[in-house]
Amino acid sequence: LANFRHVDEDFFDDLEDMLIESDVGYDMAMKLSDELREEVKLENAKSKQEASNVIIEKMVDLYDAAGKDEKADLNMAATGPTVIMFVGVNGAGKTTTIGKMAALFKKQGKKVLLAAADTFRAGATEQLVVWAKRDGVDIVTGPENGDPAAVVFDAVQKAKKEDYDILFVDTAGRLQNKVNLMKELAKMKRILTREIPDAPHEVLLVLDATTGQNALNQAKLFKQSTDVTGIVLTKLDGTARGGIVLAIRNELHLPVKYVGLGEHVDDLQKFDASDFVYGLFK
């Protein structure tokens, strides 16, 4: 038991440091450390290895418990085209994620349409056009600096008229504190809903795994203006761990649905809580 006590104090200090280092955040790290301390005691884990296993299991349980029954999978339309809107701050990986997802659904035999509704950034439309060509899917574009809402409208019309199974809407990156840009996003969402009552069936917040505590405010404000339904956590192939999604899960009940693991078309995987938790400790 004396041995366990030693694993206990240093072990839990190291654990807290590791969690903080993974961008879990101080409050969440302390909360987890307290819960895990209890769990390790309950399970009577005596070695570091046993304690680690208990901790990983418990954290996966906590992640699941922080949910409110949201779909872990993408929400698909009962009939007609499924519309998925991608939002997030500049450079997070929205356009690339659409490129990956389009290929994924095309492989499943779905008829996929892309909407290049970033009409603002240099080379944005061209970037998505390259992906469309690579994936062999169709794309709706608009004039440079044109109204992004018009591209959204045109794309939805085409999706309905030509029986597409799925429509991915790419939007321009924007920082959550830019009120007028957030309003623009809300307007684009309203157009989707007006044209297809249940649309968008999914609003995915694309979040860069290197982001720190600011990600929580990102999630809050994007959820406020577009009712985000899930997260895609990108760049997990790097050294960042994306721990902030635990706080986002805890406070906003948003599930991570997919993770980005690189820049190529196949570098997208469904989120797995155990893999993720395990990654926090690597």
Binding site: E21, G25, V89, G91, N177, T211, Q213, N214, A240, R241
Partner: protein, 293 residues
């Protein structure tokens, strides 16, 4: 932010006849929390708080001479010093062209910042810069740079995406020589600091052209990982400066402190928007108060 946190912690201290070790510990804890909240790396926070504590203990704090104000002042002074100097200029070559190389993780803002720097050089130095499009990987990266360049009327040397980036840079430098461009700005592809092959590519470009400036472009909202990124790029390339982007957001920007602490390299510029005009020189005092909140 820190000031409010410390005021609260200090309220209790003020009513006491003198500040005890426990009070000091509590104050240091508040400082630690404020910095972690601001995304400063936890190891950097530990070192920083240790230094502050030494100063606070050494000062008259323990004798109860308005401890709150003293400690806040110590923190502010320490942090502003750590942040480095204001408006450190770009290095300039003895003979034209001055070569600037943009490096960093994917999506940090390299291509956009390259444009901003070129515009600044044109406006302030009447420069005639040339871009070299060395990102052959990202879809339409060259198109993006060309559109940025068109906005500010700057030429781009590109060789499409089938050529090796080192070779593109070599040929671009020839063109710069012929056209007597006084500045060359090399836009490189985003990459992970753990990608050995791609980091070697950057080292090869460096070896070929000996840049006067290697700027690490970092997103201001980066969390704890900032130290890994900064260390990785600095160890491999011996960077000469840092540009912190997207400071027009509401992030506290603690990554700035982490990067300074770990590399000692100057933060030269900050990006404050998506337009070509949205670049400012670095102000350490503003950054310090932003981090402290």
């Amino acid at each position: 932010g820190l000031t409010e946190r410390l005021q609260k912690a200090m309220e209790k201290l003020r009513r006491k006849p003198k500040v005890t070790e426990a009070d000091l510990r509590e104050t240091m804890r508040e400082i630690r929390l404020a910095l972690l909240e601001a995304d400063v790396n936890f190891a950097v926070v530990k070192d920083f708080v240790k230094k502050v504590r030494e100063q606070a203990a050494g000062a008259e704090v323990l004798k109860g001479l308005n401890p709150a104000q003293q400690i806040v002042k110590i923190v502010n002074v320490q942090l502003t010093e750590l942040m480095g100097e204001e408006a450190v200029p770009l290095n300039k070559a003895a003979h034209i062209p001055t070569v600037i190389m943009m490096v960093g993780l994917q999506g940090a803002g390299k291509t956009t910042t390259a444009g901003k720097l070129a515009l600044r050089l044109k406006n302030e130095n009447h420069a005639r810069p040339l871009f070299i499009a060395a990102d052959v990987y990202r879809p339409a990266a060259i198109t993006q740079l060309q559109q940025v360049a068109a906005q500010i009327d700057v030429p781009v040397f590109e060789k499409g995406t089938d050529e090796d980036p080192v070779e593109i840079v070599r040929q671009g430098m020839e063109v710069a020589k012929q056209n007597h461009n006084d500045y060359v700005i090399i836009d490189t592809a985003g990459r992970l600091q753990i990608d050995e092959q791609l980091m070697d590519e950057l080292a090869n470009i460096k070896e070929l052209v000996h840049p006067d400036e290697i700027l690490l472009v970092i997103d201001a909202m980066t969390g704890q990982n900032a130290v890994n990124t900064a260390q990785g790029f600095d160890d491999k390339l011996d960077i000469t400066g840092v540009v912190l982007t997207k400071l027009d957001g509401d992030t506290r920007g603690g990554a700035a402190m982490s990067i300074r602490a770990v590399t000692g390299k100057p933060i030269k510029f900050v990006g404050e928007g998506e337009k070509m005009e949205d670049l400012d020189v670095f102000h350490p005092d503003r950054m310090a108060s932003r981090i402290l909140g």
